[in-house]
Amino acid sequence: MRTLFSENILSPSPTPAPQPNPFELLFPSSLSNASSADSTQSSPRQNEWLTQHLQNQQRAESETSNQANHAANGQRAPYARRKGNPKLLFMGLRRSGKSSIQKVVFQKLSPADTLFLEHTTRIETATMQSFITFESAELPHHLSATAPDFDHHAVFSNTGAAIWVLDVQDEYLTSITEMIHTAVFLAENYPRVNFEVFIHKTDGLSEEYKYETFREVRQRVQDELSDLGHGDRSVSYFQTSIFDHSIFEAMSKVVQKLLPQLPAMEALLNKLCSTCRIQKAYLFDSVSKIYVATDASPTFLKDYEVCSDYVDVIVDIKQIYGWHSQEGDGKAVSESSNQDDGDIGESMVTYDRSGDTYIYAREINDYLSLICVMGKGSSTDKRVLIDYNVGILHDALLQVFKV
């Protein structure tokens, strides 16, 4: 397993999370008020950004936890601390692609090799070590969630998100019916579990057909759910395929909803982007290449793809030339962990003769790295400013995770 960094950071204990908005990843007006107030005060004084930021973050967290949630789902209990690590549960018909998704995202299996995976017969769990330990479990089809002898409590009580994988190249109407049953069951008994739908295997379809199918499935499910009285239940839909980056994008969004530190990280990234004129910033999890936070500008898949490919380049070159530290024993590693600024990895690539940086990457800790796609005007003389701001972001993120 390749990671970018040398020493691990304390993993945070789960803290109460604010209620997320159903389809939107980005946060409601409370935070944007906070950050706009922030910007008017701190623009002349960059070095006070950190203190103000921390104050804003604390303010924002207390606000959102006291607010009524936006989903208007009055059934949901006021938020309680989730025990243990966030858990993801994959469900779907047979051969819909659940094991493939797990293996490709969490265990770095090449998509072409998923042809050789066998049928799953029992509940399989996998964990992914990151700054938060994720567990993902897969429910084989013949163990239906609604069957009476099924031990729901053991499986669903810890689950953060239930993902239904719908194979769009196969007959998906039966899958939709099954999914409705499961969704209703979950809505009634475990309302806190986020329900997500992956409209999977979209790689073989043409562009319009993809969109048509996506819309149709979404419409159908919405209609059925509202017929059954759960129309206000929030369900997210994603088009995915393991052969391109869409599956990583979808998993990123699912995982982000389970992270308690998300609003703090997003606010930090927004601030960074506005001061340094960065087009798009991602906080990548280096192991699985899922991004755990991004800034508020519109997300396009191609930005994610180019950043993800760049992470690959960096990891490969680090592996080739970083052989000194791999051969050295723990001594070298512990020495470097005592210096806090000596060994930070950083990288950038420039395409222009004028020196405009194109992509800028920086390690935050063992598991996280910041990758930015830069806009115009980030030329060499501005580089010092960017370095300084990113340094502040780095420290702020470390503080967020210590909380």
């Binding site: 040398s6 191609k302 930005d303 793809e305 180019v306 490919d309 760049y310 690959d312 380049v313 960096i314 490969d316 070159i317 680090k318 592996q319 080739i320 030339y321 970083g322 052989w323 000194h324 530290s325 051969e327 470097s336 000596g342 060994d343 930070i344 990895g345 950083e346 990288s347 950038m348 690539v349 420039t350 395409y351 222009d352 003769r353 020196g355 194109y358």
Partner: protein
């Protein structure tokens, strides 16, 4: 003397049975295809010529010859002197998964007999291709066996032992780049001059390693490794870097919406506590990758020094030689 004024044209023949993988290799290396795109390629009809401008005044005249029996017949009979005359390098591709070993060897023997008649001083590179289809434990033995057979055939036909080189390749890993790097290294006219100057530069910069690679194909032209780097466990790192950079070019092209062949970066830097790495464009057709130890001051000094050194290297890699400049070579 006359030759120095013009661009040096070197004729390279690419031959082998039909379906051996010649056009696939050519399109991956020179036309920026990705390994899985080569499924789209059809059978080559007669000869496909490509003229590829390379560094050091070199113009590669690549003849990708169709491998079907009727074409091979015609090369060996009507077009014999046209095809086999004044050849600098012959690249013969064997498909290791083919069942007709005898007939492959026979056709090889016929081909190099014709080659010996018309260009007896040419160099032969034998590429044993599709090695990914061989189970890993048998790879070495199968390759050796084939190499021995082919070598004896070459000697029979009159070529000296050192005129033939053998490489095992596959488009699915970096062995392809390794083999073609050797071909290019053989063809670049002033490789030793370049190496000498790079060695002095490496000593001045105190770099761990310097890698000079050609910009469009990402093939490594030459590299200077200093003693400290000699223990690097990744002995195939140059090919790996070629394939890493190629994939990077593809992903950049996709993002900016340009063609892969037009993508070239001005600079790339990777800095960690252990090592610092940067790639900068060096001459008209090449980029230089420099690996430094992990010291920020030395790194910045190296960047400045490389910029200053570029001027010195330019005359080694002129594209449009005017008469006087070309004669200034050492």
């Amino acid at each position: 003397m006359e030759r120095n004024k013009r661009q040096r044209q070197r004729k390279v023949l690419l031959m082998g049975r039909s379906g051996a993988g010649k056009s696939s290799m050519r399109s991956i290396i020179f036309s920026n295809y990705v390994a899985k795109d080569v499924r789209r390629l059809g059978a080559t009809v007669d000869v496909e010529h490509s003229n590829i401008k390379f560094m050091g005044n070199l113009m590669l005249n690549l003849w990708d010859c169709g491998g079907q029996d009727s074409f091979v017949e015609s090369y060996l009979t009507n077009q014999r002197s046209h095809v086999f005359g004044s050849v600098a390098v012959m690249i013969f591709v064997f498909d290791i998964s083919s069942k007709e070993v005898e007939s492959d060897m026979h056709s090889f023997a016929m081909t190099i007999r014709a080659l010996h008649e018309h260009s007896m001083n040419s160099k032969i590179f034998v590429l044993v291709h599709k090695m990914d289809l061989v189970p890993p434990e048998q790879k070495a033995t199968v390759f050796q066996q084939r190499a021995v057979d082919v070598r004896s055939t070459c000697v029979d036909e009159g070529f000296a032992e050192q005129q033939v080189e053998f490489w095992a390749t596959s488009i699915w890993d970096q062995s392809l780049y390794k083999a073609w790097t050797q071909v290019v290294y053989f063809l670049v006219p002033n490789a030793t001059a370049i190496e000498g100057m790079l060695r002095r530069l490496a000593d001045l910069l105190d770099a761990r390693e310097l890698i000079l690679y050609e910009r469009t194909t990402c093939l490594v032209v030459t590299h200077i490794t200093r003693e400290s780097e000699g223990q690097n466990p990744y002995t195939d790192r140059f090919e790996r870097i070629s394939s890493i950079l190629k994939t990077h070019k593809h992903s950049m092209a996709k993002h900016t919406g340009t063609m892969t062949s037009e993508v070239s970066f001005a600079e790339m830097q990777i800095k960690t506590g252990d090592f610092m790495f940067f790639i900068v464009s060096f001459t008209e057709n090449t980029n230089l990758a420099v690996v430094m130890p992990g010291d920020e001051a030395a790194f910045n000094a190296a960047r400045v020094n490389v910029q200053l050194a570029r001027r010195e290297f330019n005359h080694l890699d002129i594209v449009e030689p005017s008469g006087k400049e070309a004669q200034r070579q050492q």
